[in-house]
């Protein structure tokens, strides 16, 4: 799309943020242009071309815009600037630094630099003169918030290059030349710490993308224990409003074992982003002892910000993630909510008068979603180091109906499904992830099974499956009880129900607002699961069904107190001991032997 003479044009039509431009030269699909409006320049993206008319979607309000306004085309697609200093920043969907904008209100046409051009970074060379390099290879590194930030051969370069020189260790700004590389024809290319990349193109500077095989710890029990996500895995969380999507996403982004967390607040509530802005600088990252904000970048394009930029925001976030992955880091990318992104696509497709697909969404919605999810993954870089992007998106199904197009199409793309259930939310069983409907396809991966066996013990997988079976069996018993009545079923049904309830209350339910219960390390999850399963395996004897409920409620209450206590503290052990005593009331010793 590179051109020597820049194309210009004039506005000839305006319908909301869709603007028609008469152009005087070549234009490319998705090319960026700026529309002059008084002193303001409004950024826009070409989304359709007919004859010499380009249809552009404007990333701003078009209020007051008049026909005849001058338009300058930039000759490239929507790009982000990649370089050190992106962590702890708050960007909008187009990577403008929100903190650099003046005033309380957003000003139209206010585009700010995503990077700090003055700050000096301590550069250390990694490559040497004479090295053969290709795009993505590491030339040197600086330290960004305590993490190595690799300076790479620009991703846009094709073919092999020879390093002509690399600057020695020292303090440099992002725009200083840190290396010179030479192509096979002897042309020199100067490399700085900054490079640009079009957001809609995946960065593919890795050697191989294997099937994910390593569990990513999130501290959320009903994910890690029951339906684990992997490093480089994909998952989605659909749920009607009020079922706790955002709370769950925040919990994962706080606790997950990742080097970098990128949060795309895509068309959601501004106050939720403010919560992150205010909390993350205060909260400690348990792994590094640093503040959470130091490993986090926030892309905030809230619901009241321009719709077209909302669509861009998820791509911007993914591109930043790919950049950090290419440095060999573990990236966790969260997008809340991908439905808003789909709606942005729908609004524009509608204005373009395209033939609509289901629920007026564009026909290619499925392809767009799959494409996006496929950019996540675990990779082996060319230097044999590894990196990953784990992507979890939320979906806000219209009317809570999981058959609507965005949910259906996301289901095809994501490997983990964490369906939030209205019933569970209504009875305050949080996180409201439905234990029966939710799944992690990774659990079936032999690669993951092997690594679980190694890290969590030989019985782990069997235990997980047993917990799942118990839950299902409890649900079946519950249905029978509802049909036949408490008295109409054998006492054994009540026992099945309550054993499932035990797992539900102790393992699945977790108090995101309690300091201790909010995050459970894997070791503790293992301990508690085994503890609970030992009770599931025990045979009990009850005189009547009322005894069952009473007894298990007391058990649950004790377990909950354990969950609220520091792991293996005196308090914890105290409750545990009382629990053991309590078990004796109804346990049948002899049968227990058999069951085990």
């Amino acid at each position: 799309m590179e051109k020597n003479d820049k194309t210009t044009g004039n506005v000839s039509g305006i319908i909301a943020n869709l603007v028609v431009v008469d152009v005087d030269g070549p234009v490319g699909q998705n090319e960026i242009c700026f529309i002059d409006h008084g002193d303001e320049r409004l950024m826009a993206e070409v989304i359709k071309v007919t004859g010499n008319q380009a249809y552009v979607q404007v990333f701003e309000s078009t209020r007051g815009l008049k026909p005849g306004s001058k338009v300058n085309f930039e000759g490239h697609m929507l790009e982000v600037n990649l370089g050190p200093g992106m962590l702890s920043r708050n960007y909008d969907g187009l990577q403008n630094d929100l903190d650099k904008m003046e005033g309380v209100f957003l000003k139209r046409g206010d585009y700010t630099d995503p990077l700090n051009r003055e700050k000096k970074w301590n550069f250390k060379p990694l490559a040497s003169k004479g090295d053969e390099v290709i795009a993505g290879d590491w030339l040197g590194e600086v330290e960004e918030n305590g993490m190595p930030h690799r300076i790479m051969v620009p991703f846009k370069l094709e073919g092999t290059y020879t390093v002509k020189s690399v600057t020695g260790e020292g303090e440099y700004t992002v725009d200083d030349e840190i290396a010179v590389i030479e192509d096979k024809d002897g042309n020199s290319i100067s490399v700085t710490m900054v490079q640009k990349w079009p957001v809609k193109m995946p960065i593919k500077t890795y050697r191989e993308k294997p099937r994910p095989f390593k569990l990513l710890e999130t501290g959320v029990r009903c994910i890690d224990t029951l339906n684990p996500i992997t490093e480089g895995g994909t998952g989605f969380i659909p749920g009607p409003f009020g079922t706790g999507k955002t709370v769950l996403q925040h919990a994962i982004s706080k606790q997950a074992e990742a080097d970098i967390v990128i949060i795309a607040a895509c068309g959601e509530r501004a106050n939720e982003v403010v919560e992150i802005f205010k909390e993350f600088p205060e909260l400690d990252d348990p792994r590094t002892g640093k503040k959470l904000i130091e490993r986090t970048t926030i892309i905030a394009n809230t619901s009241n910000m321009p719709v077209a930029a909302r669509e861009a925001s998820v791509y911007t976030a993914m591109t930043l993630g790919e950049y950090y992955r290419a440095m060999g880091l573990k990236v966790l990318l969260m997008a809340d909510s991908t439905s808003r992104w789909a709606q942005a696509l729908r609004e524009m497709s509608n204005r373009l008068e395209e033939l609509p697909g289901p629920d007026a969404f564009p026909m290619d919605l499925s392809a767009i979603i799959s494409n996006f999810y496929s950019r996540a993954g675990y990779v082996y870089l060319n230097n044999d180091k590894t990196g990953s992007i784990t992507f979890i998106g939320t979906v806000s199904p219209a009317g809570g109906n999981l058959k609507e197009p965005v949910t259906e199409n996301t289901r095809k793309a994501a490997r983990c499904f964490y369906g939030l259930s209205q019933d569970r939310a209504d009875s305050k069983r949080y996180p409201a992830i439905d234990p029966i409907d939710s799944y992690s396809k990774y659990l079936e991966y032999p690669e993951l099974q092997k690594s679980l066996e190694k890290n969590m013990g030989e019985n782990w997988l069997a235990n997980v499956l047993k917990a799942k079976d118990t839950l299902l069996s409890g649900k079946e018993a519950d249905e029978q009880i509802n049909i036949l009545g408490d008295d109409g079923v054998p006492i054994d049904f009540h026992e099945r129900l309550w054993k499932a309830e035990l797992i539900d209350f102790v393992v699945l339910q977790q108090d995101a607002f309690d300091k201790i219960d909010a995050s459970t390390p894997l070791e503790r999850q293992k301990y508690m699961l085994e503890k609970v399963l030992s009770i599931v395996d025990t045979s009990f004897e009850f005189k009547n069904f009322e005894q069952v409920g009473d007894f298990f409620k007391r058990l649950i209450n004790h377990f909950k107190q354990m969950n609220y206590s520091e792991f293996k503290s005196e308090k914890f052990k105290g409750f545990e001991k009382e629990l053991q005593e309590m078990l004796k009331e109804h346990a049948v010793e002899a049968k227990e032997e058999q069951a085990v």
Partner: protein, 439 residues
């Protein structure tokens, strides 16, 4: 807003539809206001020199030689302290018989607040209604609607909330208000002696429906004036947002747009978000809190209007008639205040979160017991007790006629627990039980 001497007058319409007129005109800006034979209109589409105007009150009787003048600006409102105590229509013209007000002219529907400049909402708004204060506390800078069927007393509850909340200004945006409801608000505010801190922008059922589209922006621009310029805490009441959304669908239908779910425009989410997201806590101390009403049809929250609203707002308050006690209650299952976590147990007593959750959980057990009862099964002793509890809980705490402070609500909660349950059944953290349990 009559035409002025130097303005160009166009007199040749090329196209007339039910809602729009088209003409050839130059130098017209998008969103600009115009007057078509004395009726207010707004530019909604420009194609070359063809300009399409949406006429708010409809095009009945407009001839092809109608006089069209462009006003050179988007819709505006005058803001000043003189707004207080006054009633205006959707264009910001007085309808209370009083004089025009003097003030600074502001564009309505202005830019959004930069998210990094927002403060986290943190100030509890007490209403005395336990269904709200105990289970779904409101916080300044929040946006929350009542989801109610049309036969429920939502306007009365909202007026109560507005008057008890200690806001510096209350701004009422009435859309499709019946004349009776309009007079109700006027009277309630007047009786409370609160008229001097209230501003109203009202579109009644007697006015053209499309005019409603201007009301929220009018109300919120006035709110921004008081919250930003005067650092005041402003409470904005928007009733009924369902009628606002209906007006959106009328317009999009007349503009030949492809409807999405429930005949609503595909942009419904963004259109509603643009309004609700004006709720904000400013760093300078001012705040805008929005309490809205979304009427439901037969309690159906999966309809596109309540559904999209629920995804935007920070919770929702559900009104429901409890036939056991014969009162309207705030439904604890379906109501939710997302911002309550910021204040409960912090600005209220430490036991607030646990008492709230335990009570709702036990109320849910009662609902299960009721299902058993309805299906003809025997109830256990526990079931019986939950049913008793549910009745008292509903009457003493959930009913909308409750008016007590939060500590009293918590005390009532503990009393009910002790009366109906054992400590283990309530399942609250031991330290709190030790401290607050009523023997």
């Amino acid at each position: 807003m009559s035409s002025q001497a130097f303005q160009k007058v166009y007199t040749k319409l090329t196209n007339i539809t039910k809602a729009t007129v088209s003409l050839t005109a130059q130098d017209v800006g998008y969103d600009e206001m115009a007057v078509v034979n004395g009726r207010m209109a707004q530019v909604v589409k420009i194609m070359g020199e063809q300009v399409v105007l949406q006429v708010f009150s409809g095009t009945e009787g407009i001839p092809t030689n109608a006089e069209v003048t462009f006003l050179g600006n988007p819709p505006q409102v005058k803001v000043s302290d003189e707004l207080a105590g006054r009633f205006f229509n959707a264009y910001g013209h007085p309808i209370d018989g009083g004089p025009d007000i003097e003030g600074e002219i502001r564009e309505i529907g202005g830019p959004s607040v930069n998210p990094v400049r927002r403060e986290q909402p943190s100030q509890l708004i007490a209403t005395g209604i336990a269904g709200i204060d105990l289970n779904n506390s409101l916080v300044s800078g929040q946006k929350i609607p009542f989801f109610a069927d049309s036969d429920q007393p939502y306007n009365q509850v909202m007026a109560n909330v507005a008057l008890r909340a200690k806001a510096d200004k209350i701004i009422l945006g009435g859309m499709g208000l019946s004349n009776d409801d309009y007079l109700f608000f006027k009277q309630v505010f007047d009786n409370a002696g609160a008229l001097d801190r209230i501003v109203s922008f009202v579109n009644t059922t007697e006015d053209p429906p499309v005019e409603r589209l201007l009301v929220p922006d009018m109300a919120l621009t006035a709110a921004e004036y008081f919250a930003v310029d005067k650092n005041e805490s402003v409470l904005v009441l928007l009733t009924d947002m369902t009628l606002f959304a209906d007006a959106l669908s009328i317009v999009s239908n007349r503009m030949d747009q492809i409807p999405s779910k429930d005949s609503m425009p595909g942009s419904l989410y963004s259109d509603l978000a643009r309004i609700y997201e004006k709720a904000v806590q400013f760093p300078s101390g001012g705040s805008i809190t929005i309490v809205a009403v979304t009427t439901l049809s037969g309690g159906d929250i999966t309809h596109a209007i309540p559904d999209n609203t629920g995804y935007i707002t920070e919770g929702q308050l559900f009104l429901r008639r409890d036939t056991d006690i014969g009162k309207v209650i705030v439904d604890p299952f379906r109501s939710l205040s997302r911002l309550k976590q910021l204040v409960i147990g912090e600005q209220t007593r430490e036991d607030h979160p646990q008492v709230m959750n335990a009570a709702v959980r036990l109320y849910a057990d009662a609902a299960n017991a009721r299902t058993k009862l309805e299906n003809g099964f025997d109830l256990t002793d526990y079931d019986e007790r939950t049913l008793d509890f549910a009745k008292s809980y509903s009457d003493k705490l959930l009913a909308i006629d409750v008016n007590v402070n939060t500590d009293t609500m918590l005390e009532i909660g503990w009393e009910l627990f002790a009366k109906h349950f054992s400590k283990a059944e309530v399942g609250i953290k031991k330290e709190l039980v030790d401290k607050y349990w009523k023997e």
